[in-house]
């Protein structure tokens, strides 16, 4: 299989050298790739994996595409990330931690990072900076959202890279997919849900399992935050419940949350 160039409609496929890297994260997004049992072999025939520490010992720094999972919390990580950026033609922020900081950035709620460290390690010195998303350090070419990412989406993106098709993610919110899955709206069941303002692409993963969306994929384009807050409050959800969800994965931090609506 190696060597020979495959084509689609007579157009040669691009078989990139791919590396996977992980920073501060749970490595669940990488695992999603391995969880793709049915298509695993086809998937790996489209790319040449040269670096994937979680599953392989061989490593090479000759790669074109870097999938970067996790958020950034130490100087060393910054250095490593910058090195990856210099090598990679295309750097993909892989999963919510990489895109927005993920659940890790909840640490940033505490202004005093020393307090955070002391609480766990006492006086033992441990390095840990403010949690940052990948694009706060280096330029990112593409974001694959989700906590965890959806394997179908990863597969599609890799296929599109190979074919030279455009890489797109839905701009509309989760509600679209939720309705297509014929779910009962969580609000009818008295549960909070961020579906109306969260970027789709997960196939309404949580609402379809009758659990409200927590916004792991970050905001959809054109978010009506004021109305969303009004609706949440109208349904009797406390500020705390709303904030718990909005701040959970860090995706909504750049979206302006009107001060007076949350009070």
């Amino acid at each position: 299989m190696d060597g020979e160039v495959r084509t689609y409609l007579g157009v040669p496929l691009y078989r990139p050298k791919v590396a996977f890297f992980e920073f501060t994260s749970c490595e669940g997004c990488q695992l999603q790739i391995l969880n793709n049992e049915v298509n695993l072999l086809d998937f790996f025939s489209l790319i040449e994996v040269v670096n994937f520490r979680e599953v392989m010992t061989e490593r090479s720094d000759d790669y074109e595409i870097a999938f970067v999972e996790g958020s950034i919390t130490t100087d060393n990580e910054i250095k490593r990330l910058k090195r990856i950026r210099r090598q990679a033609k295309m750097l993909i922020a892989f999963g919510s931690c990489a895109c927005f900081g993920g659940v890790n950035q909840l640490k940033n709620r505490f202004r005093d990072l020393d307090y955070v460290k002391r609480e766990v390690y006492g006086e033992h010195p441990v390095e840990s900076k403010k949690v940052r998303a990948i694009d706060e350090i280096v330029d990112v070419d593409l974001r694959i959202y989700g906590c965890p990412v959806r394997k179908e989406e990863v597969e599609k993106i890799v296929l599109h890279i190979a074919l030279g098709k455009s890489l797109t993610v839905p701009k509309y919110p989760v509600c679209v997919e939720c309705k297509a899955n014929e779910n009962i709206c969580l609000f009818d069941l008295g549960e909070p849900c961020l579906g109306p303002i969260t970027r789709a692409g997960c196939n309404a993963w949580c609402p379809t399992n009758r659990a409200g969306c927590w916004g792991c994929r970050g905001p959809a384009e054109d978010v009506n935050m004021e109305e969303m807050l009004r609706i949440m409050k109208g349904h009797g959800f406390s500020e705390e419940t709303i904030m718990d969800r909005l701040e959970c994965f860090g995706g909504f931090s750049p979206v302006k949350i009107p001060e007076e609506s949350i009070r």
């Binding site: 409609l9 074919l163 030279g164 098709k165």
Partner: protein, 301 residues
């Protein structure tokens, strides 16, 4: 006992009305082969495409201004104006600019590739109505692609038209399309006015906006000329806004000014609603509209 309902053959059912004829009529697509690929500029390529089935080829005809949906299976499908002569059957030329998913892939395919074609769709320019009149063809940039078909028509029926003017403008000389045909057009007594915004060293022609050329042609004519002139305008939205305003200024009748609108389309058959302007389907009622209709479309153009 109650039996199982039978699958009703949709071709024979009693509800099948006149338009709902046999099954093959629902299949609006043809397989076609890319016969040649010709690079026009850095961004635009001309494809000659021939329908494979001889019978289908014989049946395929179109009027200038109509478009087809071109499909590369698995890649995408999108609308393109037919850019060739309406007198050739079953074979069309498309001039396609590289802008996105489908068009980028198209730029990489080779001669011999099989594509899907649906159409022709939409209303074209009413060429016969224009017989005996002056014709003004105004194109900006890629707008020349859909205009090439009416140009062919005019050339092939040159004696049926009075004065014919082409006004064509691009940003820079290297963006000019179909440069190899200019001479031929002029030979057929067509006034060709080309203007560019940013000249390069070799450029000797006029420099400026398309409206500059247009004003030059229209100024100082008699009333009869204006009343008996049909204008066909194609180009980016800003350009045709200015052009149409100017034509209006010179009192070219609104029903004699035609524009071709571009919208997003996913079906070309008045179903997906993506191309609606106000509440009008561009694909069915257009893409060619007279200016009066455009004014009535409500949603700002």
């Amino acid at each position: 006992m109650i039996s199982q309902l039978k699958l009703i053959d949709i071709t024979k059912s009693s509800m099948a009305e006149k338009r709902v004829g046999d099954l093959s009529r629902f299949e609006y697509s043809y397989k076609a082969e890319i016969m040649s690929v010709y690079r026009l500029t850095e961004k635009e390529t001309l494809y000659r495409i021939q329908i494979i089935d001889p019978e289908e080829r014989r049946r395929f005809s179109f009027t200038p201004g109509q478009f087809v949906m071109l499909e590369l299976p698995g890649i995408d499908e999108a609308p393109f104006s037919i850019s060739s002569s309406p007198s050739i059957r079953g074979e069309i030329e498309l001039c396609i600019r590289r802008v996105g998913n489908l068009t980028n892939f198209l730029a990489r395919v080779k001669r011999g590739t099989i594509v899907g074609i649906r159409g022709p769709f939409g209303k074209g320019f009413p060429m016969e109505e224009m017989h005996g009149q002056n014709i003004l063809l105004v194109a900006g940039g890629l707008g020349l692609a859909p205009l090439r078909s009416p140009i062919f028509y005019v050339i092939e029926n040159r004696s049926r038209f009075e004065e014919v003017n082409i006004v064509y403008g691009t940003k820079s000389p290297d963006q000019l399309l179909f440069t190899y045909q200019y001479e031929m057009w002029q030979k057929d007594d067509i006034n060709l006015n080309i203007i560019v915004e940013k000249p390069d060293k070799k450029w000797k022609g006029p420099v400026g906006l398309i409206t500059d050329s247009l004003r030059e042609i229209l100024s100082g004519r008699d009333k009869e000329f204006y009343q008996n002139t049909y204008a066909i305008v194609c180009g980016p939205p800003v350009m045709f806004k200015f052009v149409c305003n100017m034509l209006n200024e010179f009192h070219i009748p609104m029903q004699k000014m035609f524009v071709s609108l571009e919208r997003r389309m996913h079906c070309g058959m008045g179903k997906c609603c993506r191309c609606n302007v106000g509440s009008t389907y561009t694909c069915l009622k257009g893409p060619v509209f007279d200016y009066w209709t455009v004014m009535n479309l409500k949603e700002a153009i």
